[in-house]
Symmetry: C2
Subunit: 189 residues, 2 copies
DNA sequence: CTACTTTTAGTATCTGGTATTAATAATAGC
DNA sequence: GCTATTATTAATACCAGATACTAAAAGTAG
């Protein structure tokens, strides 16, 4: 057999990329792809510090389990660091790689929006609240690793309608502001 | 030893819930929790049709690999089904369990927003676009499994500014509308 | 006490590895 | 050409977390 293929370094580069694209490949599948023995693949992984299949899968699972919390399932996007129910609240969100546009590293608007919206909902002292109308301005682009500090204030309440202002700052500079009108859906009318 | 604990049925119910909450538990850890032997746990899993740890982790990893595409890393939230660059576009999003409030099953606003925003960006025929100002109205609550049809139209263009209206309908009824002002950041000014 | 269900134990086997040692093949140096 | 070095393959022992199967023991109901 011998190696009919790539020299070591090139193979290892390829290997890294392959696994980045698809972390679900076993050593055996990889050995087929590169036409080398399984042992060679293992040696390569060892040199490159790439963990075994199961660990890779596990870390994908765990990472995404957290991501769920970040944007998906949880009640609030960002970390709630202060709250006075019915009055005001502050939350912090540090955008990660997956929240930005690849080319520009500018944070996708809906993450900023999501932080603001969920903060607005959190400060309302009611069982369930729902957005009615939102009026929004994005002032400045926000970049990867900028720290988004959102501050919400309830400015008016009329019946089951709440008017909440949320201002988000990056380095004390306003990056976003939004006016949310929330409708409480408490069972006691 | 014997069983100092739950009868079979109750244990199996508990087991299901435990694994739902934390799919990373091994049979051995479970046998500790319930004070039964590993074999009993395996029998339970067999009866309940719950796959082994590795399969569970794998499915979490795979599922969330897709979810990443849904809200996180990808360029567009929802499925782009028609597009005329610079003019209009339509996208469809069917909200899943993880996009709704647990109690009410109402879709969290930022998913509706994200669909609209990303559609607005998609219709602009420019390398990178960024939200300037958005003016938004949520007309009606949207529920789990409702089919969100978002339609975007470029209504005006001035220099590198684009005005895009996005209307989202559920069952031909308007559920959301938003006005987006996008700023193109093309390198050819 | 017997019949049946539930639980536990034990053994063989599987996958996808780690870790280690040793042999073989390829390539470079001179 | 021969040797030193590097790269590759092979072989073996071991591990976690299982499946699949058989059998025994414990518990429970009639």
């Amino acid at each position: 057999m011998a190696r009919l293929n790539l020299p070591k370094k090139a193979r290892q580069r390829e290997l890294m990329e392959r696994l980045k694209a698809d972390p679900f490949l076993t050593d055996e599948e990889l050995s087929d792809i590169f036409h080398v023995s399984v042992q060679t693949i293992r040696l390569d992984r060892l040199e490159l510090g790439i963990p075994e299949l199961r660990e890779r899968i596990k870390s994908v699972a765990e990472r995404n389990y957290e991501k769920l919390r970040a944007i998906g399932g949880q009640e609030i996007v960002g970390e709630l660091i202060e709250i006075e129910l019915g009055k005001s609240g502050i939350s912090i969100l540090t955008p990660t790689e997956d929240m930005v546009f690849e080319k520009t590293k500018i944070v996708r608007g809906h993450y900023i929006y999501a932080q603001a919206e969920s903060l607005a909902i959190a400060v309302i002292d009611a069982k369930v609240a729902l957005i009615g109308v939102a009026n929004i301005k994005y002032k400045n682009p926000v970049y990867l690793n900028d720290k988004l500090v959102a501050k919400a204030e309830v400015v008016r309440q009329r019946g089951n309608k709440y008017f909440v202002w949320v201002k988000t700052k990056v380095n004390y500079q306003e990056a976003f502001r939004g006016k949310f009108i929330l409708v409480s859906m408490d069972d006691e009318q």
